[in-house]
Symmetry: C2
Amino acid sequence: MPTSDNESPPVYREIAEELRAAIASGRLSDGDRVPGENDLMKRYGVARATARQALSVLINEGILVPIRGSGVYVRAFRPLRRHGPRRLSRELWGSGRAIWQADAADRSFEIDDVRIDEVPAEAHVARALAVAEGTMVLRRRRRYRLDDRPLQLASSYLPLDLVRGTAIARVDTGPGGIYARLAELGRAPAHFTEEIRVRMPTPAEAKALRLTAGTPVLDVLRTALTSEHTAVELNEMTLDGSAYVLQYDFEA
Amino acid sequence: MPTSDNESPPVYREIAEELRAAIASGRLSDGDRVPGENDLMKRYGVARATARQALSVLINEGILVPIRGSGVYVRAFRPLRRHGPRRLSRELWGSGRAIWQADAADRSFEIDDVRIDEVPAEAHVARALAVAEGTMVLRRRRRYRLDDRPLQLASSYLPLDLVRGTAIARVDTGPGGIYARLAELGRAPAHFTEEIRVRMPTPAEAKALRLTAGTPVLDVLRTALTSEHTAVELNEMTLDGSAYVLQYDFEA
């Protein structure tokens, strides 16, 4: 296969890498205006097309954001801190708040594209919920957005005999969400296990999460268990890897 | 930029994708022998060079492993389950075992490339250890390997005034490792915080961890705190994202 490893990079790439280094080092930080085409033309003695191409590289990677009639800015996106134990504490959902509100209390978090159906349990779902493979389960799929940016896809699976006809099977599950409703059914979650894997997204995920090239996803697989260690929910989440910091605290 | 998005893929790619699908679906699983060059030539009616190129694609991605004089096999690599709370329990390091032994009790885990030095604390290290930026700290860098495959790079930072001249500043820290030694110094870790981020590797990391294309890394940033909530260690780990499943259990 032909490679171009030994050629020196084109000038627009070198300019892009200098801008990238300035952002990485903090010389240019979130929300800062970066040098425009005219500045770059003067500073590097290059044509407008070259200056434009340099900015395009970082715009396409999602690092820079062009604002019409104003300039090009460093993307101001604070990664979300997702605090495993704290966000799933009973105080939270027990008080009628939604779990994902713990991730971004002061920001505009939204759920869209809620789809609910009944499906036969695939092997890993059956194993997690301790039912026979092919047993019908309720599936709730949805997407989470923050400041209009899609961040997460989630699919919850719950035993159908437990949740059929309850608010859990409706689009709006009511205050405190699924876990508050499970508590009302006498099946309050008491223990959680989260498994984290990382991988590159499928083309469909890249589209749904609007991921730029070179952005991996985090798979978070959560099982919710009652105090008797009966599994009541499996939640398969796919997170935009560039948007999250996951935090877990525990004791020695 | 020229692209070849609209051209149909070459035949060797199509064969590689069929093999990949067979592995993804489980029709071919860990350790199975895959069809060899002769089989592929017959099945697809292609030349030996094409069959060889198809196998090369998956060999280069680390999915297939050629064994001289025997054939080509699906890589049998069980991902490591890294159980956050359990592996850091006091019973483990208190009993003189190494933390990473909890990840793979029955396998051949090794540490290599241990490098110890004293460095001025960068901003994030200073913040974690609650010292002034530029304060000298002990840094322990090392690499973890399993079955001869490099899996993880780690850099621990500890307050120099606490650990200078102790076994923590030596290559072999003795039974139970750093945490057992900290306990002997009256600074046993009692609380841990782990932060997880995901990103693509730098070229140096890809080389050190022998990562194939399209393999992201997991950054795990762990702070160890005493029962008085004094930070005694910051450990910056970079994990081969394809080799690990991280698990955390917690209560509602």
